[in-house]
Symmetry: C2
Subunit: 250 residues, 2 copies
């Protein structure tokens, strides 16, 4: 398996066709997996927001007030309002806003970006990353993964994850397969889109040296069943439930 | 970056020197990252357990009884006892045993394996994966990551993670670095050992076709600070705290 960056992509602007830009800048074979940072998808889809266009409601005001007290610094209730608008569920409101986005991804502040946002205050995640991935995969005639970078429970640090994908399944499904001794395997589903997103993130970097498109060549899915489930729903998400019932005590 | 498996490794036996086996079977350059599945490290370190050698205490009996009721099938209290012995903290006891291992990794059943365990009932994770990684890195004169495969909150499926590493830092530390517009980055720490472990898992597979050693060539850490923190401790682990206070209701 080979992993390489696409160099020479300039700043992406609203309305630009990422498919056209990538077709021009990158040699892509039909079994290459094209990993695209959500940032540039959001830019092409004009997911910028300026805070002056936002009016905070009561709930956003209350959340911001509490976060301000905890952090001992001002917090903009309009930012909390944008997070609420992008979320289907709040898992925690303190000491940070951990939410489930409308499309099912659990992340802090609904994944809204305040870095790398030229001329605007905020950049939202794509509205429907599965649809974004589908459009790009069709344009490029290759599998596509839209990636985000976020933290996780139990471990420090962030890593790349998939938020949308097309042209490949989310997971290898090992159910029913056996080990060398004929015992059924305990690992049942391997989330390959997340592992590919993590791989891409090793090369894509952040900040002013970042390369938002990474191409993974010669990845072999293998002779397994595939599954397309990635995000747990609220009912099957025990950790989400535990968090929803928990109250932060400073 | 290139990723390849090491083929031709046979079954690893207790007392075998993994360093010697790998030196013989693989060409390893000093900047290759050698990712080794914990399974074969555990086998070399004789981390097998047979249930007949275990006596379950009261707590293990109570946990197994409750899990048996929930699953409506028998659960061996001796298995629960082994999980307790390997754990420093129990995050949940139902509907499954989610624990923090003695060395800090949070996973179901303390990561104890019941697949791929020839002639024994169970295979424990290495006792001190950081020390195992150090020994292997010294023997191979290359960076080493010991990997595990486990599930995670919020998302279906398992993915590769690091449980021990040597010869490279756990993370890239972006603190203080800026985006193209001079704003400080929001992503501050990127867990590269987990991303490398996820990459390796794409090729290593499970079961009878598995290849437990994967070599990552030409990975560039880049010009960043490094950090060696990976496992959150109980005090800073808000999700762990929420889970500890939560009670499963079937």
């Amino acid at each position: 398996m080979n992993v390489r960056t696409v160099e020479g992509l300039g700043e992406i602007h609203p309305g630009e066709s990422l498919g056209a830009v990538l077709s021009q800048e990158a040699e892509i074979a039909e079994d290459d997996v094209v990993c695209v940072a959500s940032t540039i998808v959001s830019k092409a889809e004009n997911r910028f927001i300026d805070l002056e266009s936002v009016t905070a409601g009561e709930r956003a005001q209350a959340i911001a007030d509490r976060l301000a007290t905890i952090a001992d610094e001002p917090k903009d209730p309009r930012f909390a309002q944008v997070v609420l608008d992008e979320s289907s569920e709040l898992l925690t409101t303190a000491p940070f806003l951990l939410t489930r986005t409308q499309f099912g991804h659990v992340t802090v502040n609904a994944g809204i970006d305040r870095s790398n946002v030229p001329n605007h205050d905020l950049l939202l995640l794509p509205d429907d990353p599965m649809a974004s991935a589908r459009r790009l995969a069709d344009a490029l005639n290759a599998p596509v993964i839209i990636t985000d970078t976020c933290g996780r429970p139990f471990r420090h640090g962030q890593r790349g994850v998939a938020i949308g994908w097309a042209g490949l399944p989310a997971s290898r499904d090992w159910r029913g397969e056996t080990d060398r001794n004929g015992h059924e395997l305990e690992v049942t589903v391997e989330s390959i889109v997340d592992e590919l997103a993590a791989t891409a993130n090793l090369l894509s970097g952040e900040g002013d040296g970042g390369t938002p498109v990474v191409i993974i060549e010669s990845f072999e899915f293998g002779d397994h069943d595939g599954s397309n489930e990635l995000f747990r729903d609220s009912e099957s998400d025990l950790v989400g439930q535990a968090l929803s019932q928990w109250e932060y005590q400073p």
